[in-house]
């Protein structure tokens, strides 16, 4: 990415989620001697995680800043069912970390710092909202501008050769372009919070349990802190957010420990398969670990947001590319939402840098379709899998519970399959 010098502008939506606050507008760069509007190489609309990361990637890397702040490597992931004893453990034999858990705010802070470092190439327009977009004709017409025009809330306009839409699942850019979006709402909301564990542990395991109402996950942040992501019905989520701290902590602990959903039938069926597998594959079986118990919750850290699935029919149009949630929205049960967004960034940056090194017009469909094909292949599979899993685990109907119990145990037994899953998720 060192070869590309881009002129960027990032316009930040006034988001519902908490985000770092900064001062007012940074001024735009102008070409010397040109009185008309500057033409930017790229404009990224949307300043969330993915948008800011895109701006950084086009400007350059932000990982160093994150390392100076809070993040956690995890080595192991244990996922199990509330309705049976079946569990699956992802473990890397070598000592490498499987992945990292980083809080949103930490990432945002790092990205913002990095944007400041590349401010000669990247201009960030805080507190600005795009109200309209004008698309160029697909065929060059005499005297009409071939660039995308973006009208901001304050009346000014930006012109750019490539507009990147990173403005979330209700993307204004996508709607303005008229791109079809396949979407439906899950009747679930996710509750997030930062939790204090009852005792300090090594805390390098990520936990997730599938309850009939939805999965609850505990992700390590430090020796004493973990992050909670609990997807459940809208009513229950609202209750959880408003209930007092003690009850909230009790609810979390019982969600992880309670056996209330077990049935004898499923338990015996599960045990049967377990013995069968142990007989066929008498190698080491990862011991079931017990998740840590929670003592307190951080005061203002509870929040909730609705869940749904979404996938844009097209990721690209001439002079337009969608990344992150604007292109695809997924259930958090696999923890892949923003990862897919980062994958989008990596692919788009790769295609754009090759195109720039070939002197191509950045908004040309020839390389944008390469990005689209790349990512659609990867994302569609993940979206479909996540949706299936969500539906499968949303029920306590016995046949489906049996199916998923045996399925989970079988998958747990097949190490190459688990390795493939880990590799796919790390892309």
């Amino acid at each position: 990415m060192g070869t590309m010098a881009a002129r960027l502008a990032v316009s930040r939506w006034v988001a519902a989620r908490a985000a770092a606050r900064r001062g007012p507008l940074v001024s735009c760069r102008r070409w010397s001697g040109v009185a008309t509007d500057t033409v930017y190489d790229v404009v990224v609309s949307g300043g969330g995680l993915v948008g800011a990361a895109m701006a950084c990637a086009l400007g350059f890397g932000a990982w160093d800043h994150i390392c100076n702040m809070r993040y956690r490597a995890f080595r192991r992931m244990q996922v199990w069912d509330a309705c049976s004893e079946a569990l699956i453990v992802f473990d890397k034999d070598n000592l490498d970390d499987m992945g990292y858990i980083v809080e949103n705010d930490v990432i945002m802070h790092a990205l913002t710092k990095q944007l400041e470092a590349v401010s000669d190439r990247v201009t960030v327009l805080y507190r600005s909202k795009a109200v309209g977009y004008t698309w160029p004709y697909s065929f060059p017409m005499a005297d009409s501008s071939p660039w995308v025009q973006i009208t901001l809330g304050d009346g000014s306009t930006l012109q750019t050769k490539l507009l990147i839409g990173a403005d979330g699942h209700n993307s204004g850019v996508r709607q303005a372009a008229g791109i079809q979006n396949v979407s439906w709402n899950y009747d679930q909301s996710a509750v997030v919070a930062t939790l204090h564990l009852s005792e300090a542990t090594e805390n390098n395991v990520a936990w997730q349990r599938f309850l009939p109402s939805g999965p609850i996950a505990l992700l390590p942040l430090s020796d004493t802190l973990s992050s909670l992501v609990w997807s459940t019905s809208h009513e229950h989520a609202a209750e959880l957010v408003s209930m007092d701290e003690e009850k909230f902590v009790d609810a979390i602990n019982s969600a992880f420990w309670s056996d209330v959903n077990h049935t004898d039938f499923i338990d015996s069926a599960g045990t049967m398969l377990h013995y069968a597998i142990a007989f066929l594959k008498p190698t080491k079986v990862s011991a079931r670990q017990l998740p840590p118990s929670v003592a307190r919750v951080d005061a203002k850290s509870r929040a909730l947001f609705p869940l749904g699935l979404g996938h844009a029919a097209e990721y690209v149009r001439p002079r337009l590319a969608l990344i992150g949630d604007a292109a695809h929205r997924v259930h958090p049960l696999a923890g892949q939402g923003v990862n897919m967004g980062f994958g989008d960034i990596s692919s788009l940056v790769h295609h754009l840098s090759t195109a720039a090194f070939n002197g191509k017009d950045l908004g040309s469909m020839s390389h944008l379709t390469g990005y689209e094909t790349d990512r659609q292949r990867h994302n569609t599979a993940l979206l479909a899998a996540t949706d299936v899993l969500k539906r499968l685990y949303s029920t306590s109907a016995t046949p489906l519970v049996l199916l998923r119990t045996w399925g989970l145990q079988a998958t747990n037994a097949v190490s190459p399959l688990k390795e493939q899953i880990m590799a796919f998720a790390s892309k």
């Binding site: 590309m4 060059p140 070939n358």
Partner: protein, 367 residues
């Protein structure tokens, strides 16, 4: 002799556009010979299915009904504002063909889509070969500081990427409408507007004022359209700095290039607009190399290119029998060899012998 006709009939050719290349006085002579004999006549004794540079293709037979369709193109063309036609490498009939499509250059999915796609090969080819000649380069602009001439730039399809890579480019084209389209297109981009300059003229016209000023001259998809290749190459030599590069991409003159490049691409599949190319003017790599070497340009690379009409992408290829690219470098003083001694394929031998005796411009009368 009938084999050739069967071959063509098999390909479904019932009419052929062809040209006459000869001195004016000879034209009537050939014509009268053909009419009086009223039989198949090949005006030169060559293998039936090979078309030579000088041929008039006429098929007349009592039994077969081939319709012979000749396009009469007048040497003198009413587009007088373009340039003077004496001593020129520009072919006025070619001008007319490109004029009709002057506004279609920048439609990436339109008639010029293959040329847009060819940038994926030619820009890296030019960029990488030029980068070999410099010690370091600016990361964002690998060609900055270089002066490049794009001959036959058309709508600026290749000129603009070179400009984006940092070079100062002059694009020339004999068709004024092409230059207008190119000017208009670059005017929207402030950076390109400053780096690129377009002129509607032929190469010969700027030779004197731009002698030895360019670090590179690009003649991409041009040499198959010029009338006099020798003069063209000489002009290229004159405007290049010593040690500078000449890049050429063009089409080989083989049976395959006739079948695929003209019959399939133009007449059947419509990948290339009809009448864009004339097989007689295709140049084989061997001929090109010999002309380059005899004019003080040492050939560094010749590489084949292949277009996949289904994927619409170009690929490099070992095989130069269709499209190919060549890179030559201007060496020392210009040397003139007698080409008759060089080793060439049979069908071009005759041409070479005649070329060495015909100094200067050959006029082309389209029939």
């Amino acid at each position: 002799m009938f084999q050739g006709l069967f071959f063509l009939r098999f390909l479904g050719i019932f009419c052929i556009d062809n040209h006459v290349i000869c001195k004016e006085g000879q034209f009537n002579f050939f014509l009268s010979i053909v009419y009086s004999e009223n039989q198949l006549s090949w005006t030169l004794p060559i293998k039936p299915w090979i078309f030579s540079e000088y041929r008039i293709m006429w098929f007349k037979s009592c039994k077969m009904t081939f319709v012979c369709f000749n396009r009469m193109k007048s040497y003198r063309y009413p587009w007088t504002r373009l340039y003077s036609t004496s001593g020129t490498t520009v072919d006025s009939s070619e001008v007319k063909t490109f004029l009709a499509l002057a506004h279609r250059w920048w439609d990436e999915q339109g008639v010029y889509a293959p040329l847009h796609s060819m940038n994926d090969l030619r820009v890296p080819f030019i960029r990488d070969n030029l980068l070999k000649t410099v010690a370091n380069h600016q990361p964002g602009k690998p060609l900055s500081g270089m002066k490049i001439l794009d001959v036959g730039c058309g709508g600026g399809l290749l000129t603009e990427p070179l400009g984006r890579l940092g070079a100062s480019v002059i694009g020339i084209d004999p068709v004024a409408e092409n230059i207008e389209t190119a000017q208009r297109h670059k005017s929207f981009d402030p950076v390109l507007d400053k780096r690129i300059e377009y002129r509607a003229c032929a190469l010969e016209e700027i030779v004197e004022e731009t002698a030895e000023t360019f670090d590179a001259v690009i003649a991409s998809e041009v040499v198959e359209h010029v009338t006099d290749l020798e003069t063209f190459i000489q002009c290229c030599w004159q405007v290049l700095k010593p040690g500078a590069s000449l890049f050429i991409t063009t089409i080989n003159k083989t049976q395959l290039s006739y079948a695929l490049g003209i019959v399939f691409a133009e007449q059947i599949a419509g990948i290339v607009p009809k009448g864009t190319h004339t097989w007689e003017k295709f140049v084989s790599p061997e001929m090109l190399e010999s002309i380059l070497e005899s004019n003080g340009l040492s050939v560094q690379t010749v590489a084949g290119m292949f277009y996949n009409p289904f994927s619409r992408y170009w690929h490099w290829s070992e095989n130069t029998s269709l499209n190919y690219a060549a890179h030559a470098v201007k060496s020392g003083a210009q040397e003139h060899q007698v080409p008759a001694e060089s080793v060439l394929k049979e069908e071009t031998e005759e041409l070479q012998a005649t070329a060495s005796t015909n100094a200067g411009v050959r006029e082309e009368v389209k029939k």
